[in-house]
């Protein structure tokens, strides 16, 4: 066990944890946050995606020790109903999620893509979102929402 300090959704937190324990378990169990989800534990689906110092990472495989001293942003920290991120607003407008379990991966990854490349083309979006899974088949809605967000951000 070791002691780690990090910032989560703007708040400083301290954790006592096994260094090998993935960040996801620290967020969910030690900090009682429910929004990042366990989907595969193998970095193959994206359901656990958070930003680490602004970059999307898969919390299910990232040891908590690697996150020490860094800033973690979850989808809850990205925006709120009162002050939504444009992607969240667009997701609501397009009613994208069905079961909704995959949402972290798509929104957190797309937020990073749009930050670097606000005018990303359809092909660039598809390339950047490779690897993410959605089992309800909402992909066409996802692309519609991202394009709507691009419109709102430009």
């Amino acid at each position: 066990m070791a002691r780690y300090r990090l910032t989560v959704d703007g708040k400083p937190v301290t954790l006592n944890a096994d260094p090998e324990m993935p960040l996801l378990y620290a967020l969910r169990e030690d900090l009682g946050m429910n929004n990042p989800h366990f989907g595969c534990g193998l970095a193959q689906c994206g359901a656990c995606t958070v930003h680490l110092d602004g970059e999307p990472v898969r919390a299910c495989v990232m040891p908590v020790s690697v996150a020490a001293g860094k800033t973690v942003t979850t989808i809850k920290g990205l925006g709120t109903p009162a002050k939504p991120h444009p992607l969240q607003a667009a997701y609501v407008e397009e009613a994208v999620p069905q079961c909704g379990y995959c949402v972290n991966g798509w929104i957190m990854t797309a937020a990073s893509i749009l930050k670097k490349n606000p005018k990303a083309s359809d092909a660039e979006l598809r390339e950047g979102l490779a690897g993410l899974k959605c089992r309800c088949g909402t992909h066409v809605s996802i692309l519609r929402a991202i394009k709507r967000a691009q419109g709102a951000m430009s």
Binding site: H37, V92, Q98, E127, L129, R135, V140
Partner: protein, 728 residues
Amino acid sequence: MNRREFLQTSGALIVSAFPEIGFTQGKPGLVPGELDSWIAVMPDGGVKAFFGKMDMGQGLDVAVAQIVADELDVGFDRVEVLMGDTATSCNQGGASGSTGVSNGARLLRRAAAEARRVLVEGASNKLGVPAFDLKVEDGTVFSGDKKTTFAELVGGKHFNHKVQWNGQTGNPMDIQVPAKPKPPAEYKVVGKPLPRRDVAWKVFGTGDFVTDVRVLGMLHARVIRPPRAACKVRGVDAGSIKGIPGAQIVREKDFVAVVAPKEWDAVRAAQRLKVDWHTLDGAFPEMAKLYDHVRAAKVTKRAEEVKRGDVAAAFAKASKIVEAEYEWPFQSHASMGPACAVVDAKADSCTVWTGSQKPHFVRDGVAKLLGLPQDKVHAIWVSGPGSYGRNDAGDAAMDAAFLSRKVGKPVRVQGMRMDGTAWDPKAPACVLRGRAALDASGTVIGYEFLSKGFSRQHIATNESDPADSLVGLATGVAPKGTLIFGVPAESYGFENKLLAWETIPPLVAEGCSPLRTSHLRDPVGPEIHFGSEQFIDELALAAGEDPVAFRIRYLTNPRHAAVVKAAADKAGWASLGKGKGIAFAERGGTAVAVVAQVEVDRKTGRVWARRVTVAHDCGLVINPLVLRQTIEGNVVHGLSRALFEEVRFNRDAVTSIDWASYPILEIQDAPEAIEVVLIDRPEVAPTGAGEPTIRVIPAALANAFFDATGRRIRRAPLDPERVKAALA
């Protein structure tokens, strides 16, 4: 304090998914024959509708709210639909067979109509105005300046009014009432594209999934599945998890699990635990010989569902006989996350939090497993990581119940990825054979279609019996199994016609098998129609006819012909170049035709369904917005199953254990456009939409592939390797 606040202050969540309705005193029993079991009017005039089916994210609850709002004459926003809690709703069968609107909402429509009738009668007495002179608007009953409200009449009180129940449970449950529901012409809310209510919390991360339920003192568990099908435990080495805080082993016969207070510790214990398994090799055939196995297997049951004319005589006088065989693999639910359940089993009662799409049946199964009366088990559905049939959610709930009883504490079970991919009940592999006789003019004079495969219900479609759960099978409960498959659903008017199915024995007779079979979205629909609707194209080719014209020529139901024409017209069929394919089918009264336009990369073997056009007729359209999105989901799920999905296995085990070994469609391969034509028929009672579209996608794709390349692939999926081999 709401659940979220409670969680934040205490770190625990110990409450039902639904608030109390506030007036539990004097409530009649929760039985289908009571109006109070369906509808409640709150003191503020808000209406609660108690729905015994389930929405899995396709907006069914919104459709129910629209229907209830129209029948009761209250605003849509005042109707709350409660579902999935066995303490507040009757067992209407959960999510099942795309019957949410057709069967499920029909009862709510009648109950709401009856509630309105009773309320207007009450208003008539109160106001001294004949009922036929009264009007209702948004919960206010009035005539001139005399008025009262639903809230004043019954708000916070019970109707204590009987309705006539047909005595059935599950999908066939029905009620009859004296009130006559409104004619469609009077609908104001039905038909409107109203938005879903579960979107915002999913987007902002502010609500709870079943994976987020926490109960004070609960232990985390992981179940250890056998490395080979049906193999038994010889021993467990407790020393192998020494040093992991609080980790304990639970074993009963061939069921092994670990529990620990912290989730990561349960995960580590499951990874480290050494189990000595009996060697039992070769339960499965070689994967390369799967379809030979199916062809050669003993037939356990045969049914001839459509038999018309004299097929043998027709073949005897044929000028030309066309024959083809198609093959479809085992497929996995592979839900977005492995299933999760939390169970708090006490000596004389039990609470279950489950993501199962049939929580009432989970209640029944847990009661049976623990030997409790049904009414001592309370099952509460909480949104899960997706559900399109009998997936791993049913096993998670039964595992958690068993473990909670064993350790005497609340237990949360969540699977690892392989529990959701390798160990869910599978959609059955099958072989499909079409045979047709044509006369000299190319007219079809005889037609046979035979489906042969593993039963779609070796594992029942719900969790109401431990015999259908992994924990049951591992602890020696004898498996049950129902023998059933299916035939194509269409109205082709071939004069002499035989549609039949045959089932074969399961690969493992007793114990746990990762290739046990049950229902996956549109059970055996994509499978059968992958064969039958390609075969129709093969017949059109043999007859020298266009595939659209050929279908329209033979379809006898005008609604069927209309969807084929609508899809073709919308897609611009006549002017499309190479790479187009059509397929049609019916499902439970809903007719769907799909035109797929594909691009094939001969080098990489990639098939891209660039554009998909769907024409959909499910009778009266309740909500075109959620209907379109449900259809889009069907299209993409269908493409994924047709292009990528195949459960891989060796002689001993399933080797598709994660997303790398069970690839599905990703966004690169999502269509550029999905066009949906909704044919609204207000005069026709609504039928389902959750599954009909998926059944025609694989054949539309395969027919388009043939049009693009001149090669026909009769084995699914059309993955890059198979495509390259076909084009070599």
